[in-house]
């Protein structure tokens, strides 16, 4: 980078830190995005400037970005710059990088921004988890994103791609990349990829594979497998996570694969990943009034399906909170794609701006529900109650509750 623009970069970097400090100090914002926006306005190439001399791993996909990034950051060890607040567009990335001079950085990136971010950072590794519907009223239809990723990765030199071999849209996106490490991890949600991205014929799914008549199929040369046990590029690893659910095991497999590509010691990384118990407030135990809550974030049908799988099959109360604000997508139609029937036997307390949409969905699914009016009347459970919330509803739950 020529000196003039480097100076501009340095000035802009100071601006990010200053604005973030002021934003936190005046309590006007969370101090991540506002500073980033100011910095980007001052130096469009700030991201490029900020990653110089660092090893960068990017993580993208519809579900699991934050958890996988946290696993990579923890497993890598030492100081790792990371946007762990979930601000995953350029402004948030700039803010995270400006706040740390670490040698390594792991950034979760919004699916729509991956091209810009990869071009700016020239990351060593890009990890692609999955692609399914999210916030549909923004019209980022998933196939368009897969198409854009494909064009990007076909020309990205010097970047290693870690990709989920069980997600046909991810395979379509990554198959032209010069270096791909395929991960064979459980991916139950494939409803968004039933027609072949190459020829639109129906894809055929079998127990451990999928294929199309045109020849498009699950890659054979998988390097990481997660079946009875985890094997990362030839090394068997004893996965024993604190975090719940099959989807977190898949996230861990992909995180450890990414770490193996930057030379991390997998035995140490595994121990660190195993001991993670909470990610950005998710899965953590919180207190609100007399209730103890276990907060679970789920933003779309695939995410909800994964979270519902982690609940015990008992008669406990479950709270679900649904909003439909800008960050959630304004249309809660997707509630009808969530297998809420799994909640039969529980009593579900409906919260959030769209609690009547939720109650209607549960009613048609013959699930016992209560529309919450007076919050002081909610019965207190002996065991912590599971709270499933979509994006802004989750933020509200965090803000209104305290750590236990």
């Amino acid at each position: 980078m020529p000196p003039a623009s480097s100076l501009r970069g340095t000035v802009a970097r100071r601006a990010v830190v200053t604005v973030n400090f002021l934003s936190r100090f005046t309590a006007r914002g969370s101090g991540t995005v506002i500073g980033g926006r100011v910095g980007l306005a001052m130096a469009p190439r700030l991201l490029e400037h900020l990653v110089q001399g660092r090893d960068v791993i990017l993580v993208s996909g519809t579900n699991g970005k934050t958890t996988t990034s946290a696993m990579i950051a923890a497993g890598w060890g030492g100081v790792v710059a990371t946007n762990d607040t979930g601000s995953n567009m350029p402004a948030g990335l700039v803010a995270a990088l400006a706040a740390s001079k670490s040698h390594s950085a792991v950034l979760e990136v919004d699916e729509s921004w991956l091209s810009d971010v990869l071009n700016a950072t020239g990351a060593r590794v890009v990890t692609l988890l999955n692609l399914s519907r999210d916030q549909l009223d923004r019209a980022n239809e998933v196939r368009q994103i897969a198409e854009r990723w494909r064009l990007l990765l076909a020309s990205a030199q010097g970047t290693e791609v870690v990709a989920n071999a069980n997600d046909p849209l991810v395979v379509y996106a990554a198959e032209l990349a010069t270096s791909v490490t395929w991960c064979d991890v459980p991916t139950p949600w494939t409803s968004d990829a039933v027609s072949c991205p190459h020829c639109t014929q129906p894809l055929h799914f079998a127990a451990a594979s999928w294929s199309c008549e045109c020849g498009f199929a699950k890659p054979i040369n998988v390097a990481t497998t997660l079946r009875d046990g985890l094997v990362v590029r030839g090394s068997p690893l004893a996965l024993d996570l604190q975090l719940p659910g099959a989807f977190n095991r898949a996230n861990a497999a992909m995180a450890l694969t990414a770490l193996s590509l930057v030379g991390a010691d997998l035995t140490i990384a595994l121990a660190r990943v195993n001991s993670l118990s909470s990610v950005a407030g998710r899965f953590s135990l919180r207190r609100w009034r007399n209730h103890r809550l276990r907060l679970l974030l789920a933003k779309n049908p695939a995410g909800f399906a994964a979270m519902l799988e982690t609940l015990e099959r008992d008669d406990s109360n479950v709270w679900v909170a649904i909003n439909a604000r800008l960050a959630d997508g304004h249309d809660p139609s997707w509630l009808y794609d969530v297998p809420f029937e799994l909640l039969r036997g529980h009593r579900v307390f409906c919260f959030g701006d769209r609690r009547l949409d939720l109650a209607t969905r549960l009613d048609y699914g013959n699930v016992d529900y209560v529309v919450v009016g007076d919050e002081s009347l909610i019965p207190v459970s002996l065991e912590p109650v599971a709270v499933l919330a979509n994006y802004t509803a989750f933020q509200e739950c965090r803000e209104r509750s305290n750590a236990c």
Partner: protein
């Protein structure tokens, strides 16, 4: 009700993997439950992409992305679906489903694709995408919903719209959808029947040829809340 009910309501949910982008399967659940709660046996038959289209009381067609919409239209053209609809089977079609039943539709740029030609309706690419709340005046009632599509639909002479647009765009900013003796179509996508219990019952009464007893559910509150919010 005194009348003895012998009919079974069968709901043919067409290609949920292709035409189910916006929770469209919800409409099938709603019809099924509202029938069952009045003592009418009802079942949902999902029609998969390799299956033949079975006989059903009503078929549901939902929304889909461009590629799946084209594939859905191609598969339906090769099936018995069109002849069944010409013979009077009922259809509720939303979003992409609305476009597929017409003579042609445009997706993926300006390419034009052949529809099933069951209704004299043409869909072209609109200048902008319509994403947002939709309210349609249907007779004396309001239909509330959400639209997300890039189509501009023109009705042929004599094709009756479903209703007049009160908010949103629908077909062209003036009217939304269409209705024939056995087809209802709207751009209000996804679980439009969940949000509009009165409309769900209107469809059921026509399909079953029965007068239904009133049914009070939480969906009534949802409908009143949405209607007040969107028109208030």
């Amino acid at each position: 009700m005194s009348r003895k009910i012998e009919r079974v309501l069968t709901i043919g949910l067409i290609y949920p993997e292709l035409l189910g982008t916006y929770g469209d399967g919800g409409n099938a659940r709603v019809l099924c439950e509202r029938a069952r709660r009045r003592g009418i046996a009802a079942e949902i038959s999902p029609v998969g992409i390799g299956d033949d289209v079975p006989d059903a009381s009503i078929y549901l067609l939902g929304g889909g992305e461009d590629g799946p919409q084209r594939l859905g239209a191609d598969l339906l053209r090769r099936s018995s679906f069109s002849s069944r609809v010409r013979n009077g089977s009922y259809v509720l079609a939303v979003c992409a489903g609305l476009q597929i039943l017409g003579t042609s539709f445009a997706v993926e740029g300006d390419d034009e694709f052949e529809g099933l030609d069951l209704v004299d309706v043409v869909t072209q690419r609109g200048e902008t995408r319509s994403v947002g709340d939709l309210v349609v005046r249907v007779g004396e009632r309001d239909l509330v919903g959400f639209e997300n599509h890039g189509g501009r639909t023109t009705l042929g002479a004599g094709v009756e719209p479903l209703g007049r647009v009160e908010r949103g765009r629908g077909n062209d900013g003036a009217v939304d959808g269409y209705q024939t003796t056995n087809v209802w179509a709207s751009y209000a996508h996804g679980p439009v029947l969940a949000m509009n219990p009165w409309f769900a019952d209107r469809v059921l009464e026509r399909v079953l040829d029965l007068e239904l007893s009133p049914l009070s559910t939480v969906a009534d509150q949802l409908y009143e809340e949405r209607r007040a919010k969107l028109l208030g």
